[in-house]
């Protein structure tokens, strides 16, 4: 287990090491998530500008953490700062489910404005993401409008003591190693471990690709979605503080999901604010709540806050830190007797090929085994298939019984390469 057990019934996010009164503001636009500033930071801030931290977020050294406006910090994220290793996160950035920002042992972590830290990603040591910039490579400068600048760290990626500049990104299960600078205009390919500056800036070396206009457009949309979530969860908390805990409502109130829904267990809609896990919105679980609780670990985030039903069959076993995210237009169906390894990520996302044809949903069949740290995204996993530890399956129809070895990236039905770290 990566982290210690938390109990999620506290009235606010878990804040450790802040027994002294808060020094809430490092500047007028930064908020420290001290006890009085969670889950809404700052607690008396405008809905339009407040940052929302899910109550399950763990913050240590909160006085040394500064959060910009309009941010969203998702369930079970962790931010660990010290006096000598502060953390700052800029405006309109989001820290999604089970993300780890751990500055301890380094000189601090700086995350700039408009940075997306996707599910299960981590930033460690002395690191900066989206702060520095360098001139775009000519091929990118001539073809891409980077707008206001952004960075995307994808599922399960890691920035370890490294610098990731504005207008760059790190794909799923990829890493930027200590001391390396990923310059503006480049994205690390899935599973790659970039260990030198040369690898970080030369696509011919096979570790990175150029930024594209589609990357920028995607980031813009994700940033706007998460700004909406920050606002919607803030409103939900202010209407009903108990509603942002445990098994509970999605916030609704967003353009893409106007209605608030409760999860259902064995057909029975219910709120369980004392649950140690977060199950949010229109999730339809086959298990009773008691059986689900018996079969599942800690820090599990099943977040259907964007509207569509999310169907989960009987769980065989679900280890700690599992993340599900269901999406409008792209619901997720998971079969019976599935075993979910620690930190597994199941993420919806349609694969519409042509309008008028059925959308290929993310489907995980019966008796599937998802390894520790594995990622399933926009894919169909056939009955009985096994995904190895820290493997990623993206945009793929995986036949029944398929075995994906550990540390393997599968993109669009083909083996793309290894997870190199």
């Amino acid at each position: 287990m990566r982290r210690a057990l938390l109990t999620g019934s506290a009235a606010t996010a878990v804040v450790v090491g802040t027994l002294t009164p808060a020094l809430a503001q490092t500047d007028e636009r930064r908020c420290s998530p001290t006890r009085e500033n969670v889950p809404v930071c700052s607690t008396d801030g405008s809905v339009a500008t407040a940052t929302f931290l899910d109550p399950t977020v763990t913050v240590t050294g909160a006085r040394h953490v500064g959060l910009g406006q309009r941010g969203y910090v998702g369930p079970f994220a962790e931010l660990h700062a010290t006096r000598h290793a502060p953390i700052s996160v800029g405006a309109s950035s989001n820290v999604q489910d089970n993300v780890l920002l751990d500055a301890r042992g380094g000189s601090g972590i700086r995350v700039g404005d408009r940075v997306i830290l996707a599910h299960g990603s981590s930033v460690r040591g002395s690191a900066s993401v989206g702060i520095e910039s360098s001139p775009l490579p000519p091929q990118v400068a001539g073809t891409v409008d980077t707008l206001e600048g952004s960075v995307f760290l994808s599922f399960g990626s890691e920035v370890d003591g490294a610098t990731v500049e504005i207008d760059s990104g790190v794909s799923a299960l990829a890493r930027v190693a200590p001391g390396v600078t990923l310059p503006s205009g480049f994205l690390v390919l899935p599973g790659k471990n970039v260990t030198t500056d040369a690898e970080a800036s030369d696509p011919a070396l096979g570790k990175v690709r150029y930024l594209t206009q589609a990357d920028v457009a995607f980031n813009e949309a994700v940033i706007h979605v998460n700004e909406s979530l920050a606002r919607a969860y803030t409103e939900l908390y202010r209407e009903d503080p108990g509603a942002v805990h445990g098994v509970n409502l999605d916030p609704g109130h967003t353009e893409f999901n106007p209605d608030a829904d409760l999860p259902s267990f064995a057909g029975d809609e219910q709120a369980r604010p004392d649950s140690r896990n977060r199950v949010i919105g229109d999730v339809d679980l086959a298990d009773t709540y008691d059986r689900f609780t018996q079969r599942t670990g800690e820090r599990i985030a099943i977040r259907a806050d964007e509207g569509e039903p999310f169907v989960v069959g009987h769980v065989d076993e679900m280890d700690d830190d599992v993340v599900f995210h269901a999406l409008e237009h792209t619901d997720v169906h998971v079969g019976d007797d599935v075993r979910y390894g620690e930190g597994a990520i199941v993420h919806g996302g349609g694969r519409v090929v042509v309008e008028g044809q059925p959308e290929e949903q993310t489907v995980v069949g019966d008796r599937v085994r998802l390894g520790d740290g594995s990622v399933v995204f926009r894919s169909t996993i056939g009955d009985g298939a096994r995904i190895g530890d820290r493997s990623g399956v993206v945009g793929t129809d995986l036949p029944a019984g398929t075995v994906v070895p550990p540390d393997t990236i599968v993109l669009n039905g083909e083996v793309f390469g290894a997870v190199e770290w």
């Binding site: 206009q213 589609a214 994700v222 409008e328 519409v352 309008e355």
Partner: protein, 155 residues
């Protein structure tokens, strides 16, 4: 304002995507105009094109998706789009200069895009992004949104 551009340059030229949209607004503003009942626009075509520039030693992959109005809606004044991502639907509504979305999905060095793993990865990433389109009538009312079309899809 994001950058979706209808017009294309010379075949070998790289796509310029700097100033395609003429405006954007939160969806709530758009919705305030009211959505009339009726059929939504439909996808007319979607293409994926690799352009190779031997002189520059580079290539680029461009996706274009064009929408048609439904019968009886042929006199739409303009078109709007919104992005649909793997994280949700963007609240921003953007104006299209025409009825087509055109977007650079991949680019890289060399002259053999099919052999470049960067293209494979970029197209896989782009599939996390889609668009919905709607028409705006002369009275300011809007059609329903089309079904989302995933970036990189063809047909």
């Amino acid at each position: 304002m994001t950058a979706l551009l209808r017009s294309r340059g010379p075949a070998a030229a790289l796509l310029t995507l700097a100033a395609g949209l003429t405006g954007c607004s939160p969806a709530s503003e758009g919705e305030m105009r009211g959505t009339l009942a009726g059929p939504a626009p439909v996808l007319a075509s979607a293409t994926l094109t690799d352009d190779v520039d031997p002189a520059a030693g580079s290539w680029s992959t461009t996706w274009e998706a064009c929408f048609d109005p439904s019968p009886g809606e042929e006199h739409l004044e303009r078109w709007e789009v919104r992005a649909v991502t793997a994280e949700g639907v963007s609240p921003r509504v953007e104006e299209l200069p025409g009825r087509c979305v055109e977007l650079q999905l991949a680019q890289g060095p060399g002259t053999a895009p099919a052999d470049d793993p960067g293209r494979t990865a970029a197209l896989a990433d782009a599939a996390s992004l889609g668009y919905q389109a709607r028409g705006v009538r002369s009275d300011g009312s809007v059609t329903p949104w089309s079904e989302p079309v995933v970036a990189g899809s063809v047909g």
